[in-house]
Symmetry: C2
Subunit: 206 residues, 2 copies
DNA sequence: TAGATTGTTAATCGATTAACAATC
DNA sequence: TAGATTGTTAATCGATTAACAATC
């Protein structure tokens, strides 16, 4: 099916399937079923089958899905067969934790560029990646043709940084700063803000 | 309207409204409109009015909404008028960043309990909060009647920690570990995993 | 008054689920 | 063969949007 007519909400579930499948693989399971996956993820089996069917026929009646095969297919569909280089802007406590996190590699991403505006930090490195000055964002990213960036600056700086990133050719931004940023329509933005999740749960607390 | 029949998806948007309103307040705006809020958030004005109308009439025809008033109402609705005590389990790079992050207070949460299994860390403190041993989770949380916890352990430990938390009386868990955990139905779980967001965006990259 | 914006209804749109033939 | 599970259709369910009377 034409990629452009797959609902966004389906794309959002594929990484969850992939994550669950990796754990199954790690645990030694070679096959699984929509039923099994659904139970693990809290998603109905029908929905999982429907989602996957938009991209092809990956299962076998009476048997289910081969874990390794479905992983390969999902990685291909999601465009994460190899790791994309990623730029991280803001190397405070959070940025440092992100840069040190080993979980990006082999899942589609590799943090290869770090930027901060603190002269004390510029020139130092994390895991072999040097921290550069904010002023170097445009040139560095343009030259390296980086497409993905993460913003881990304070809220006040996020919009200005986003503007620089867009200017430099970034087309996907994961924003850790607790503020909505505005970008041209050809640029994707995703947000990660723990407060939003916590407040959502607080609603149901007594 | 009866709290229990408000759609989940609406509750999920209220924290976004609240966050945008706080920024408006900070920037000195005293009134706003569904149009204005919608533009900032990328949500239709009709949807914002519809969402709010489920809880009452907070606006004025021809004028819009008073920022401070809507903030007050949303905080009341979301149950975050004062800060809930929160326990954080796992004080590695990420846990440390979370514990040092100042953005929880006054937004409904206050990290007051830290746990880790590293003897080197146990007994030390972050921002005045002592790091306790994992073994003390049950007693500490039970005694203090803490309801909310965040898991920032490695994936392998997450399920075991979740089990202890549930046993201790926790009813809301924010899971930073990249794995689905299973808990009884009276316990809420939210996930925050940057890989999921990044993979979702990677799909659209060329 | 004129203009603006709410709150709400009804229509539309889209997502989820139930069910089952196909088939391994 | 009998049992299990897929892929897919049609029905259901729920969420979003358009439109407008009410009214500030």
């Amino acid at each position: 099916m034409d990629r452009s007519q797959i609902p966004d909400i389906v794309i959002g579930r594929l990484p969850l399937y992939l994550r669950a499948l990796r754990h199954l693989e790690q645990a030694g399971f070679q096959i699984t079923s929509s039923q099994d996956l659904g139970e693990r993820l809290g998603i109905s089996p029908a929905q999982i089958r429907k989602d996957l069917s938009l991209f092809g026929e990956f299962g076998k009646q009476g048997t289910g899905y081969t874990v390794s095969n479905l992983i390969t297919e999902l990685k291909r569909i999601l465009n994460v067969e190899s790791d994309w280089p990623v730029a991280l802007i803001g190397v405070g406590d959070l940025g440092r934790a992100i840069a040190n996190y080993g979980g990006f590699t082999h899942r589609g991403f590799s943090i290869e560029y770090l930027f901060d505006n603190d002269p004390e930090k510029i020139g130092t490195e994390i895991k072999g990646v040097p921290i550069k000055a904010i002023e170097e964002i445009t040139e560095t990213i343009k030259e390296a043709k980086v497409k993905i960036a993460m913003i881990a600056t304070p809220a006040e700086a996020a919009q200005a940084v986003a503007d620089m990133l867009v200017e430099a050719g970034i087309t996907a931004i994961l924003n850790y700063a607790p503020i909505s940023i505005s970008v041209p329509s050809h640029v994707q933005v995703e947000y990660t803000d723990p407060i939003v999740h916590l407040q959502q749960m607080a609603y149901y607390l007594t």
